[in-house]
């Protein structure tokens, strides 16, 4: 993409452009709290988003993720705490001076303007010359594959097309920070997957743009984000790379919300420091699991194992084998979801499609490798593994 500096008369960002303080500003939340009378929408939220990074705010409805995004956009003023774009404190800066691109779930294309007028909106607002607006509009529409629809009105486009235009409109002002607020939630599953690839491609093409991506969908977060901030009850629960949160979730909430893990309360029987593995017991089962950092025999912990790690066939020699009763079998096209029960403990297992799926009430053996299971602190074990039946 051509840099703004090589296009004379072209605004670097929106009007005022006070936010264009650094070439690549990140976002910093410094103990941000947002409260409406007695309701706290965001509590003591601190997070650093590196320049050029894609950070997903992942959490269920009401977890405060959209409120956090809106404090960056300037639509919500924090009750306390500060928000920074780069080194600039933007906590009380009006939204129109921040130079931020924003895409919302409902697209919010201006219905009385043609596609090209929508995309040109930010440039016109900034007072860009006609000569610079037209090529930039074409460039942005081409970037999202919508150049052929420039003369259409939004109501003549499908949902996916509208969202592409909304993204082009946000990118047209060359924002250094792009806020995406559940941008794919209003699309059907097939379109969503296509748009997900599209956004990933756009980020590869625009590596300088810092993206804050709000979603409740773990697949979107895992696919797009460099790091994920998991939120619940208006608070930041965990933050880390997608891989670390998935493979070694720091909390039971993250374990269940990201990847829908099975959580089982266990007691440590033995610890092998050389292999960083522990033998743990739950019900009548004794299994070997990964235990990075060490555990003490007799200690109570929570075993975390993903549904897809539970297999009907042994994944490797020496894998754990446990006997369970089948409670429910669901066919999901590309997989069979088995609901299993071991002495009152419910487990979910995802297997590849089975020619002869087991029947309810049948007893079978499920396996998992030691390195596919991890141990969490025990205090959080109360919330059972059935919390996020997905």
């Amino acid at each position: 993409m051509a840099d703004a500096a090589v296009m004379p008369g072209f605004p670097r960002a929106a009007a005022g452009a006070k936010a264009a303080v650094r070439a690549r500003p990140g976002i910093r939340f410094d103990r941000v709290t947002v409260a409406y009378r007695s309701t706290v929408a965001l509590a003591d939220f601190s997070l650093d988003v590196e320049p050029g990074e894609v950070m997903a705010l992942l959490g269920p409805s009401g977890s405060g993720k959209t409120t956090a995004l809106r404090t960056v956009a300037g639509f919500v003023t924090p009750t306390s705490g500060r928000v920074f774009l780069g080194d600039t404190d933007v906590t009380s800066m009006p939204a129109h001076q921040r130079g931020i691109g924003m895409v919302v779930q409902q697209y919010a294309l201006f219905p009385h303007m043609r596609v090209e007028q929508n995309v040109a909106f930010g440039l016109r607002a900034a007072g860009a010359s006609r000569a610079t607006i037209a090529p930039r509009v074409t460039e942005c529409l081409t970037m999202v594959g919508m150049a052929a629809y420039a003369r259409r009105y939004p109501h003549e486009l499908s949902g996916g097309q509208q969202q592409r235009v909304a993204i082009a409109r946000a990118l047209a002002i060359r924002p250094r920070v792009l806020l995406l607020d559940e941008p794919l939630s209003a699309l059907d599953a097939q379109l969503r997957s296509g748009m997900l690839n599209e956004i990933a491609r756009l980020h590869r093409e625009l590596p300088d743009v810092t993206i804050l991506y709000v979603t409740h969908d773990q697949v979107e977060a895992l696919t797009l984000a460099d790091r994920i901030a998991v939120m619940n009850d208006s608070r930041l629960v965990d933050v880390g790379t997608a891989q670390s949160l998935y493979q070694q979730p720091p909390s039971d909430f993250t374990a269940t919300f990201v990847g829908n893990a099975n959580l089982v309360p266990v007691t440590v029987e033995a610890f092998d420091a050389a292999r960083q593995e522990a033998r743990v017991r739950f019900a009548a089962c004794s299994v070997v699991v990964r235990a990075n950092g060490g555990v003490t025999p007799g200690e109570r912990r929570t075993l975390c194992v993903r549904p897809h790690a539970l297999a009907l066939e042994p994944p490797a020699a020496g894998a754990n084998a446990i006997e369970a009763r089948v409670v429910e079998v669901q066919w999901r096209g590309s997989a069979h979801r088995l609901y299993l029960e071991i002495d009152g403990i419910e487990l979910r297992a995802d297997s590849k499609p089975l020619r002869e799926p087991p029947h309810r009430g049948e007893r079978l053996i499920v396996h998992f490798a030691a390195h596919d299971a991890t141990l969490l602190a025990a205090a959080q074990a109360d919330r059972g593994s059935a919390d996020h039946r997905g």
Partner: protein, 265 residues
């Protein structure tokens, strides 16, 4: 469909005519018939004539019609500006004060229009606000009476307008005034058109306040109709009423045709 069976639909139509014709249709039909009546001593009028309608065109009615039209248009435009401004301001307040101001704006509807006229007469009869005897006081009376409707209509439109349009516009760098004129008002066009039509129709038919304040040189059509019927020229009054109805209808139809892309959202 709410009424799936044929008998129920027929019943609904019958009920509609039984209720609508006497309540809404009959008065208009009677006025229309009276405008062409030579005499009306029986159930139906007799000695039908176009004389009253002809007289309506050649008499002062033409000037009264223009007076009403001018008053209606000016009052509607002013009321629309004030009502829209107030609706936007009340929305921006978002506090308890907003409800109080909203209620104050709607209050003139609850007051008899004659009282509004009387109030204006008292208020504007002494310097420095000496407007008594001018056409301005008639326009002010109409503005006071119809602004409430403009305010209500625009407020309802604003309440339906999703916040994300204006927020996205602001995030794209639109200053508040730019967003107002490029996004908010265009999206409100359906409400503004509805409000304008309503204000104009109300102004065209306004009598109570006008009769208290009108000067001899600014006689609106309803005042003319009232004067005619008051001295017994009922058929001439009916002819003027037909004129008023037709003109109002023409303007309302023209206004309703102002549609924008905003209607498609």
């Amino acid at each position: 469909m709410l009424l799936p069976s044929r008998p129920s639909r027929v019943a609904a139509w019958v009920l509609f005519f039984v209720l609508f014709v006497p309540v809404f249709g009959l008065p208009i039909v009677v006025v229309g018939a009276a405008s062409v009546a030579g005499q009306w001593n029986d159930v139906l009028p007799s000695h039908l004539t176009l004389r009253h309608l002809h007289d309506a065109f050649v008499s002062n009615a033409g000037i009264e019609l223009l007076t009403s039209l001018a008053t209606g248009i000016i009052a509607s435009v002013v009321a629309l500006v004030i009502g829209t401004w107030a609706a936007l301001a009340v929305r921006a307040l978002r506090r308890r004060g907003a409800k109080v101001i909203g209620t104050l704006f709607v209050l003139p509807i609850a007051v008899p229009s004659v009282s509004v006229g009387l109030g204006l007469l008292v208020a504007f009869s002494r310097p420095p606000f000496l407007l008594n005897g001018t056409s301005v006081i008639v326009v002010i009376a109409h503005v006071v009476l119809v602004t409430a409707f403009a305010f209500s209509s625009v407020s309802a439109g604003l309440a339906r307008l999703p916040a994300h349009f204006e927020q996205v516009a602001a995030s794209l760098g639109g200053r508040p005034a730019y967003v107002l004129f490029r996004v908010t008002l265009p999206l409100l066009t359906p409400s503004l058109v509805a409000a304008a039509g309503l204000c104009f129709a109300l102004s065209m038919g306004e009598l109570g306040a006008t009769i208290m304040v009108y000067p001899p040189g600014w006689v609106t059509l309803p005042v003319g109709i009232f004067a005619l019927t008051d001295r017994g020229a009922v058929f001439d009054g009916a002819a003027l009423t037909v004129l008023l109805l037709v003109l109002t209808l023409v303007v309302l139809v023209a206004v309703s045709r102002i549609r924008t892309r905003a209607s498609y959202r």
